[in-house]
Symmetry: C2
Subunit: 350 residues, 2 copies
């Protein structure tokens, strides 16, 4: 499976790069990635990376440094990053995927720049208008995939339909579920709610013969608690929903620590109860959900949160590897083709 995979890493991307990136790889190799023979191309400053690798032996044994002294600033505009960022660690991480030297690229850097560079280098799959970013969120049982979570501020109905197809194929490949359910995020489940774009996308999805398990409108609470597998929305709404969910989980984590360390008795009983509480804490840890996947490109690019720590980065690595091991790209090719055939017949995308 993983043996033989080559992971192209933007070692300079993120608020705490390169330290968190390398520490994240080490953590992954010690835990989820134990006994695996994946190798890493580390794009970034050779001096800094060499020094770090002297501390992280597992990573050092599997990595090759590709030196560049250029890095994309976290606050650079995408257009600026494209103009000035050629040869940067981010650019080179993607270039290795394009050159088929690596199975995928991963970066915790500037999202807009990463998307712009990925589009320019890898190109979109035939017929795709705009790529989307898909993120995972835990549910009672399993996971929910939400897309788009930030690539497209405004979307039309054709794009939302395309996101449904991309997200469904993604879910099927990653979570090995034959018929994942798909919902369209709206402010209410009654037919009368929502704006014109959402209504048009709803009609299109409801009438489609693509064989999607389309459930109609879903609401914000369904992301965590609705049993729907794929939630489709524009990048503005999706980004806000995901960050709101993260903030809520973080807040509750804070209340949690607070309540359980209140007085000596609380501390004592918490200690006795520590196994169950630790399991719970792990389950609600937002870092588990780190790793946004760019869908619609010829190649796999994964975006880690810029501000995450090594455990979050290791989780993003896990997502990327799950995808690289799946039939994801082939699935998407197949379903996109069916969508665009249907579009041609009904003249939906003009």
């Amino acid at each position: 499976m993983l043996d033989g995979l080559i992971l192209s890493i933007d070692a300079m991307g993120g608020d705490h790069a390169p330290d968190v990136v390398i520490k994240g790889i080490e953590y992954f190799l010690k835990h989820e990635g134990k006994n695996r023979r994946a190798r890493f191309l580390l794009h970034g400053d050779e001096a800094q990376l060499t020094e770090l690798l002297s501390k992280y032996k597992l990573t050092a044994a599997r990595s090759e440094i590709r030196h560049t002294d250029k890095a994309v600033a976290m606050d650079a505009k995408p257009s600026q990053a494209l103009r000035k960022g050629k040869g940067s660690s981010m650019w080179n991480a993607i270039a290795a995927v394009k050159a088929k030297e690596a199975n995928f690229a991963i970066s915790a850097g500037n999202t807009g720049a990463l998307m712009a560079m990925s589009k320019l280098q890898l190109r979109m799959k035939q017929g795709v208008q705009r790529p989307a970013i898909a993120a995972s969120w835990p549910q009672k049982e399993g996971w929910c995939v939400v897309l788009d979570v930030g690539a497209n501020i405004e979307c039309d109905a054709a794009q939302l339909t395309e996101f449904a197809v991309l997200g469904e194929a993604f879910y099927r490949a990653l979570h090995k579920k034959a018929k994942p359910s798909v919902g369209l995020l709206n402010v209410g489940t009654e037919e009368l709610k929502g704006n014109a774009v959402i209504k048009a996308a709803h009609e299109r999805l409801a009438e489609s013969q693509l064989g999607l398990n389309y459930q109609g409108y879903v609401e914000g609470n369904d992301i965590s608690f609705g049993g729907v597998d794929v939630v489709v929305t524009d990048g503005f709404t999706g980004n806000i929903a995901l960050k709101t969910a993260e903030g809520t989980a973080k807040l509750i984590g804070h209340f949690f620590s607070d309540a359980l360390s209140g007085n000596l008795w609380s501390k004592f009983t918490t200690m006795l109860n520590s196994y169950a509480l630790l399991k719970l804490k792990k389950r609600i840890d937002p870092r588990r959900a780190n790793g946004g996947v760019f869908l619609g490109l010829n190649g796999i690019v994964v975006k880690s949160h810029g501000g995450t720590d090594h455990i979050g980065f290791a989780n993003a690595l896990g997502v990327a590897i799950g995808l690289a091991e799946s039939t994801f790209l082939e699935e998407i090719d197949r379903t996109l083709e069916a969508l665009h055939d249907e579009d041609d017949n009904i003249g939906f995308i003009s």
Copy 2:
């Protein structure tokens, strides 16, 4: 304070009305509203309400039933509710506020119908374009108010600016904070992000001389964890953010029960730890945040979740009473006037 307040209740609104409504009033009178002499006008079916009141003595002693056999369906369109809903329990609950028989109206019924009827009967405050719904969400310390959470699917920059002014006055009155901070919900804190409407509202708020404590853009996670007091957004985004936060809290509550009742040892230590855990459970209970307030009207109308239970309804009552006891309506008059003076000078609202 509360003594002498008269609360106008749509007893037939909500998924589980009238039972949950009456049980909610009783719960309120037993707990938060203990020792208070508030009275209730219960609008709804006399036979059903009389039977219920025979079980809930505290409520019975303080209530007057105003019979109507008409109720607005939970799935009625607002236009349909306006046409056919005159004389319904919802309509009459608002009419009592208009007639100054009650300090405010509260309903767990159909949101769109409640807003349409409130606008028609109470009218908007002078110069207000559209009312907004404000909801509260817990933070590490205190509360965050988010608006709009569902009244206006699409908003322009002038409306968002008005929401900032309404929300700030609301927060000041309800939470007794002299200078609450105000943020504009966006997908990123960098200047370059967001759509044209949000950018225009941001410029307007940043340049305003109204004396708002405007903090600029905030993100979804700031609702729970950012320390910002008032979060301004359009009704589509706000509704999805709030419901996503609720879903997340509910999911974690589920994980919580799950983890702590796993095996005998867990059950035993959880019992020992029950005080701290109960305190935590209470703190993350989404029912605590129930109660959306309509801002911008000549009168106070509070919307409870349609699907809430009696504890959630009691919380919505608490919010409404907090407002009725505050200088909320006067505050809003004062700040709206200042906003509209400024608008006249810069020609912002045409």
